[in-house]
C-alpha cells in the first residue's frame, strides 16, 4: 500500500502535449479511477505513472519518494493490461511466477505466493494450463493474479474489462471491487466506461484533452459537476442541456428563461448577471412528463426505450439541438410524435455559465439530491 502524488506532471510526444501539467493525490488504500473519452490521456497518464512512458515535466512521488527516474520494475507497481499480456508459452503458474523468478525469489516462496493469489482469485485448478485454453474472463483473472503475486505498492489497471462481454464485465467488476476490499491496496484504474468508474471508485479523476477536469467521489461528481463536460460525461443516460438566459436574480434564486419556452427558478445566490446566456443541466430523473401546459415546456416524443422498471422517453423541444431524455418510473407507452408537457424539477437543475463552468452556492451542493441518494 502506498500513496501517490503527482506534482505538475506533464507529458509530450514531440510537439504534442498529451498531458498538461497536473496535480493529483491518491491516498493509501484508495481506489482511483481515471475516466474520460478516447484520446483524453488517461492511459498515457497511467503509463507515465507506471514508468512505461517518460514524463516530460513535474514529479511522480510514491510514498513521498520521487520515482521519475526509477525503472518501472523498481517503482513497486504492477499493471493489468487490457489485452491481458499473458506469456503464451508459459503455464498459468509460470506466468504468475515470472516476476518472482526474475527477482530470484526462493522456490518455496514462489509456490506459496502463487498458490495464495490463485486461491484469492479461485484459479487454483488452472495453474497447469496455458493461456490459450482459458476464456477471456479467466485470462483477466490470471493477469490480476500475476499482479497480486508481486505484492505491489499500487495496482494499475489499464481498461482491464474492455475485451470482455457485458455480463462478464459486470462479474469481473464485482470481483475487482471485492479484491480491493480484501487487499486494501491502492489501486488506479483506467476506463472510458463511466459506469465502471461510478461503481468501483473511491475517487474519480475525469480527464479531457490531457487536463484534469474534476477530481472527487462518484457522488460528488454526479451531484456537483464542476463543468458542463463532467456533467455530461458522468451519469447514464447523460445529463440534458437546455440553453437559456438569466432573467432575474435575487433572494437566493436565479430565474432562467429557457430557449425552448418556460422558466426555471434555481436556488442560487451567486447568479450570473441578468441577460447572461447560460445552460441549464438537468438529469433525466429530474425531468417528468405531464402537468399543466403553462408550468412546463411543450415537447414531442421522439422514441421510448422500455427498460422494464423504468422508461426513457426521448423528447424534442424547441431550440434544443439534441434530444431531451426523461427517465420515467414504470412502463410508459408513448407513440413517437405525441405532444407532451415536460416538467423540470428546479432543485435538480445545474447552471453553467457561458464558459461551461458550473455556478453553485459553495455550502449547498444540491442538498435535496444528495439526501435522496
Amino acid at each position: 500500500m502506498a500513496k501517490l502524488n503527482l506534482n505538475q506532471l506533464s507529458k509530450s510526444f514531440g510537439p504534442v502535449e498529451v498531458l498538461k501539467p497536473m496535480d493529483l493525490e491518491i491516498t493509501d488504500g484508495e481506489f482511483a479511477v481515471f475516466v474520460g473519452p478516447s484520446g483524453c490521456g488517461k492511459s498515457t497518464l497511467l503509463r507515465t505513472i507506471a514508468g512505461l512512458e517518460e514524463s516530460s515535466g513535474g514529479d511522480i512521488l510514491i510514498d513521498g519518494a520521487r520515482v521519475n527516474d526509477t525503472d518501472s520494475s523498481e517503482r513497486g507497481l504492477s499493471m493489468v493490461f487490457q489485452n491481458y499480456a499473458l506469456y503464451p508459452h508459459m503455464t498459468i503458474f509460470e506466468n504468475m511466477a515470472f516476476g518472482l523468478r526474475i527477482a530470484k525469489t526462493p522456490k518455496d516462496e514462489v509456490t506459496r505466493r502463487v498458490n495464495k493469489a490463485a486461491a484469492i482469485l479461485k484459479i487454483e485448478h488452472m495453474l497447469d494450463r496455458y493461456p490459450k485454453t482459458l476464456s477471456g474472463g479467466q485470462r483477466q483473472r490470471v493477469a490480476i493474479g500475476r499482479s497480486i503475486v508481486r505484492d505491489p505498492k499500487i495496482f494499475l489497471f489499464d481498461e482491464p474489462l474492455s475485451n470482455l462481454d457485458a455480463e462478464l464485465r459486470v462479474q469481473m467488476r464485482i470481483e475487482i471491487a471485492r479484491l480491493h476490499e480484501t487487499l486494501g491496496a491502492t489501486m488506479i484504474y483506467v476506463t472510458h466506461d463511466q459506469v465502471e468508474a461510478m461503481t468501483l471508485a473511491d475517487k474519480i479523476v475525469v480527464l479531457k484533452d490531457g487536463r484534469i477536469e474534476q477530481v472527487g467521489s462518484p457522488l460528488d461528481l454526479y451531484n456537483a459537476p464542476a463543468n458542463r463536460f463532467v456533467a455530461g460525461f458522468i451519469g447514464s443516460p447523460g445529463m440534458n442541456f437546455l440553453d437559456g438566459t438569466v432573467e432575474g436574480a435575487g433572494n437566493g434564486q436565479c430565474c432562467v428563461a429557457l430557449a425552448c419556452g418556460g422558466h426555471v427558478a434555481l436556488p442560487l445566490r451567486d447568479a450570473p448577471a441578468v441577460g447572461a446566456p447560460v445552460t441549464i443541466g438537468v438529469r433525466p430523473e429530474h425531468v417528468s412528463l405531464g402537468g399543466a401546459a403553462d408550468e412546463g415546456v411543450a415537447a414531442t416524443v421522439l422514441l421510448t426505450e422500455q427498460l422494464g422498471d423504468e422508461t426513457h422517453v426521448h423528447l424534442s423541444v424547441k431550440g434544443s439541438e439534441g434530444a431531451i431524455v426523461a427517465q420515467v418510473r414504470g412502463q410508459v407507452k408513448l407513440r413517437s410524435g405525441t405532444g407532451v408537457t415536460m416538467m423540470i424539477a428546479p432543485e435538480g437543475c445545474h447552471l453553467f455559465d457561458e464558459t461551461g463552468l458550473a455556478r453553485r452556492d459553495p455550502a449547498a451542493a444540491q442538498p435535496e439530491i444528495a439526501a435522496a441518494s
Partner: protein
C-alpha cells in the same frame, strides 16, 4: 443455368490444362536431370528428350566420387557445414538486430541501416565480387571457412522478415515483462525467443535454402577446392576439355534433390513466412 455451368467447366478445364502445362515446364528440367544422370552421354545426344532411361547406368555416380582431387563427401560436408553455420549465425544476428529495431525504432542510424539492408538486396551479386574479395582479404579471411561463413551469414531478407514478425508481438507483453523486472536480454531470451520459435524455424529454412545454392562468393573467397561446396563443384565440371553431361547431371541431382525434398516437406512454413510479413506488416 446449364450453359453457364458448361462454360464454367470449360474455363476450369482450360485453366487446368494451362496449369498442367506450366507445371510440366517447371518440373521437366528436374526430371530430365535425374533421368540423364542414368543415361550415357551417347544416348543423351542421340535422343535428348527421352522421358525414361533405357537402362540405369550408374557409372556417373561412381565417377563423381572424386572431383578435381577432392572427395565428393568433402564437397557435401562443406555444403552442409557452411550452409548450416552461416544460416545459424544469420538467424542469431538478425534476430538480435531485428529485436533491437523493434524495441527502439528511433535509435539514430537504424533507419539508415534498414535502408542499407534493402539496398544490398537490390544489388546484383556480381557487382560485389571485387569488394567482397578486398574486404575478406583485408580481414585475413581469404581461403578460410570463417570468411565464407561470415559472408554468407549476411542475410538482410531474414532481418526484414524478423522485424515484421516482432512488430506483430503485442507491446504489452514486453512491457509486462519489463514491469516484472526482466532486463532487455531476459525479455528477449525468456519471452520473445520462445514465442518466435515458429518464425525462427521458418527463417532458418529460408536462409538454408538461399545459402545452399550460393556459389559466387564461395568461388571468390575460397582459395582451394577443399573449401568448395556442391554448387561450386558443379560449376567446375564445366571444363575446357568439355562437359560430361551424365556426371554433371548426377552431381546436379545430388546437389538439388535433397534440397527439393526439404522444400517439399517444409513449403507451407516457408511460404507462410514470406506471406506473414506481407499480411501483418
Amino acid at each position: 443455368m446449364k450453359t453457364r455451368s458448361v462454360k464454367d467447366r470449360s474455363v476450369a478445364l482450360l485453366a487446368w490444362v494451362f496449369m498442367a502445362g506450366v507445371t510440366f515446364l517447371f518440373l521437366y528440367p528436374f526430371w530430365w536431370m535425374i533421368v540423364s544422370s542414368f543415361r550415357s552421354q551417347e544416348a543423351m545426344l542421340l535422343e535428348p528428350t527421352r522421358l525414361l532411361p533405357e537402362s540405369f547406368n550408374t557409372r556417373a555416380y561412381g565417377d563423381i566420387q572424386t572431383l578435381g582431387g577432392v572427395k565428393l563427401w568433402l564437397y557435401t560436408f562443406n555444403s552442409v557445414f557452411i550452409t548450416v553455420a552461416a544460416t545459424l549465425i544469420a538467424v542469431g544476428v538478425t534476430a538480435l538486430g531485428a529485436y533491437a529495431l523493434y524495441r527502439k525504432p528511433d535509435l539514430p542510424g537504424f533507419r539508415f541501416i534498414q535502408f542499407g539492408f534493402l539496398m544490398t538486396m537490390m544489388y546484383p551479386a556480381m557487382l560485389l565480387v571485387i569488394p567482397v574479395y578486398l574486404v575478406v582479404f583485408q580481414l585475413g579471411l581469404l581461403g578460410t571457412y570463417a570468411g565464407i561463413i561470415l559472408f554468407l551469414s549476411l542475410m538482410p531478407i531474414l532481418f526484414l522478415m524478423l522485424v515484421q514478425f516482432f512488430r506483430s508481438i503485442p507491446k504489452e507483453l514486453i512491457e509486462s515483462a519489463k514491469m516484472d523486472g526482466a532486463s532487455e536480454m531476459q525479455i528477449f531470451r525468456k519471452i520473445v525467443l520462445p514465442i518466435s520459435k515458429p518464425i525462427l524455424a521458418t527463417v532458418f529454412l529460408i536462409g538454408f535454402l538461399l545459402n545452399w545454392k550460393q556459389w559466387l562468393p564461395i568461388l571468390v573467397i575460397a582459395t582451394s577446392p577443399d573449401q568448395y561446396t556442391l554448387p561450386v563443384a558443379l560449376l567446375s565440371m564445366n571444363t575446357e576439355l568439355g562437359i560430361d553431361f551424365q556426371a554433371t547431371m548426377a552431381l546436379a541431382a545430388i546437389t538439388t534433390v535433397p534440397i527439393i525434398v526439404l522444400f517439399l516437406f517444409t513449403q507451407r512454413r516457408v511460404i507462410g513466412g514470406f506471406v506473414a510479413g506481407a499480411v501483418k506488416g
